[in-house]
Symmetry: C2
Subunit: 295 residues, 2 copies
């Protein structure tokens, strides 16, 4: 990673963290238990990929971090809720997340369900406080996020994932799951950033293409890492997909083919950025950094 990108990420992530700290209810506010749980899961050392992408997309369209930061934080709240619920015993049953015990391990299952519910609801409370841009109302921004998080996308992907457990899926089924489960929210993060910057329809379409390829590339790499890395280096349980007999890119395509697919998707993602010219440099750097993980 270039020193310049490193500084950029550090600055943006620190602004996002400060904003989240401002927006979330205080831990001492009643009922204390849920506000503590919300903060435990939000401030768990995540990389804030989605907020960073949201803000960089706004900048690529001529906007600013200031205008995009509420949308950026809203997307992070939605992402975090989905992790909290996916980790539940009745879903993926995960004990570790980002190297720490998952929400239900610390606060119990009932509280983890409510914590996820609250983060999801808060994402809309926050987005509703956004300023509209010239071309987009707050209602349109909310619609963008709600559709991406809905039963056809984010939640639908988790449904397909649950249903596919223990089955050998086809390449198409696997793509459909990841497009819904990972891709939709990345795309939405980028588009929301664009909307705060009054992006043109062409720019929004380019952000969608970029996010689609980036999301899939990221997931392919994630699946590869689950096979090739240790629990410690991942900060979450490694080899879990294989243990759960879950279909992954390596299990469907083989490891070598998966690596080639990751490279192809990465190229597609970068090509989609061409229309942004110089302003798209930051998005390109972030994509290269996201996809350059050791495998």
């Amino acid at each position: 990673m270039s020193g310049d990108l490193k500084d950029y990420l550090k600055t943006v992530v620190s602004h996002v963290d400060t904003a989240l700290d401002d927006y979330l209810p205080f831990p001492g506010e009643a009922p204390g238990a849920i506000h503590e749980a919300m903060r435990y899961t939000i401030f768990a050392g995540g990389k804030r990929l989605r907020p960073v992408l949201c803000i960089a997309a706004a900048e690529a369209c001529g906007g600013t971090e200031t205008l995009a930061i509420k949308a950026a934080c809203a997307v992070e709240l939605m992402h975090t809720y989905s992790l909290v619920h996916d980790d539940l015993p009745c879903m993926d049953d995960d004990d570790l997340r980002r190297g720490r015990p998952t929400c239900h391990k610390v606060y119990g299952e009932g509280m983890a369900v409510l914590c996820g519910d609250a983060l999801l609801t808060e994402s809309f409370t926050l987005l509703a406080k956004s300023e509209p841009s010239e071309g987009y109302t707050v209602g349109e921004m909310i619609s963008e996020l709600a559709v991406a998080g809905g039963s056809r996308k984010l939640i639908g992907g988790q449904v397909l994932d649950l249903e596919g457990e223990g089955q050998q899926l086809s390449k198409e089924q696997l793509l459909a799951i990841h497009e819904a489960k990972t891709g939709a929210l990345l795309v939405s993060a980028l588009r929301l950033g664009g909307m705060t910057a009054n992006a043109s329809a062409k720019q929004l379409a380019a952000l969608s293409d970029f996010g689609y390829s980036l999301g899939l590339a990221f997931q392919v790499i994630d699946d590869i890492l689950d096979v090739t890395q240790t629990t410690k280096s991942l900060g979450k349980t490694a080899g879990k997909d294989v243990a759960a007999n879950k279909s992954t890119y390596p299990s469907v395509w083989g490891l070598e083919e998966s690596k080639k697919e990751a490279e192809r998707l990465t190229r597609d993602a970068l090509n989609a950025l061409e229309i942004f010219g110089e302003r798209g440099v930051r998005l390109r750097e972030i994509a290269e950094w996201m996809l350059a993980r050791e495998y």
Copy 2:
């Protein structure tokens, strides 16, 4: 109930059901399982109290059913999600709801969590499609619903409820739980209806007062019925509060005092409607009907 009110309720409920049927994804749409679960829980024979109140509040402020119906359905989606999650084994662990097996009994726990998530998300998708009124943006309407559904209100009430299980609560604690768990969403349904009708600040405040007293009165009566009625007549497990050693109005105040409290709250609710004059008649009739259950 007057024949006139009966007709009104029948008509409004049928319009709300048709609208919900239009708005929700088709049961056959992929992933089919979750769309089936969403419809199972939404079309479970609920009384649609919140949508009816939303629409009647709009009319009390000079608005129309047509302008209020998206908000009315959005509130019902949020209410239903909260029931689905509250019924989960890790929460209230309820097998019956409106006389039918609860969502997780039919579709499994993982799907019930996701079904609730999807209903919650869909409530915002739908509300985002509303028309703004002269005085209120769609963002303000979303904020109204999201705050009522958030960790300080609807969800917070469930947290307090979980924490209070097995403990003898004070009068104040019990009020706080019910104001958050039942009252906030009733208030929000009414205020949203008012907002679609471009209500004045005074009218919104009156709707808040009305909803607050109505919600508490309704809960007191619900608690009384849990003691005095059978499972069959309630359509849900009777005597459950006592069995769970849960604090209720009868257990804290005694049965007679609870009945008096219900009457006092009912009077407060009706008094709050005075500023609406003739236009408030429908809200008054609905309140009298809601609170006139046999106990």
